[in-house]
Symmetry: C2
Subunit: 156 residues, 2 copies
DNA sequence: CTGGCTGCAAATGCTTTGCACTGCG
DNA sequence: CGCAGTGCAAAGCATTTGCAGCCAG
């Protein structure tokens, strides 16, 4: 984790940006909540808890900066309000999401299924893919179970 | 096209909504610009051209209604501002997009590659997929060509 | 002292809401 | 009448921008 933080800092520095306490705090929050798909407001709250003087605009600016450097990815599920994910560099692309339309939970799944598709797109359309984004909407295991439960009761 | 309009109207009526002139005009605009990924403002402009008294809010309300009925799909590329696509019912799911990061052009490509993946997700995660969304970001054929051209000149 | 970075407040831009009005059943 | 649907203006919300101040090099 600490090493991860180190590596991220260096990425910033290499591009000529300073690692300010605010940016470090923002990165740290993203790192500590890697699985949570935080939105800007949530990142702000968490950063503010450690660093009460920070302004919301600064968090936005940090997130935009990091997103431009492809250190975090900015995602947009249907709700207004973007969400931010740390982007681990052992994944060449974004990871994919299972979004439950019942309970709103977002699960992550892994990559690599799409590489053949990317090759095909390049061949057929002359389109050189640099990134992709794949989301599935549906009903998660838990909500499925609840649904079946409800159906069972309705019968009895 | 006219039959298509008919079918869409019936979908509205069947759900208990009226086919008002405003809603019809909105549908017609979407139908006539099926390939264009219009945003709300653009739909509004086009509807207003035929129907000058309509209000922006009404267009938003129509689009939201149609989107709720899955007659149109509301998509969100990275730019602020949702875009709207008519959803043809011979495609069970959304179609996919090739988004050029150079010129912003959006191409559509067809579906059906993902069905095996959906099956796998249901087996492995217990997640019943009802819909998916797949976008590729990259550089389109034209921008690729321009880029190569530029590189060639730089050498000479 | 210079330029990057910050906080604050104001501005922006898309979208939604409140409300009074209208027309159809 | 009752109620869905409408237009207009105002509100709402996430995000961006302007600007003065600050700090490291």
């Amino acid at each position: 984790m600490a090493e991860h933080m180190d590596k991220l800092s260096k990425q910033l520095l290499n591009k000529g940006y300073k690692l300010t306490p605010q940016r470090e705090a923002t990165l740290r929050v993203l790192l500590e909540n890697e699985k949570d798909h935080l939105n800007a407001e949530e990142v702000y709250m968490l950063v503010k808890a450690k660093n009460p003087n920070i302004g919301l605009a600064t968090v936005y600016r940090a997130l935009e900066l990091l997103s431009g450097l492809h250190i975090v990815e900015k995602i947009n599920f249907g709700d207004g309000g973007a969400r931010f994910d740390l982007r681990s560099d052992d994944q060449p692309h974004m990871h994919h999401h299972l979004i439950c339309t019942r309970c709103g939970k977002v699960e992550e799944i892994m990559d690599d299924w799409l590489l053949p598709m990317e090759n095909r797109i390049e061949r057929e359309f002359g389109f050189k893919v640099t990134d992709h984004r794949l989301d599935f909407h549906g009903v998660c295991r838990e909500c499925n179970a609840k649904e079946r439960e409800r159906a069972r009761k309705a019968v009895s």
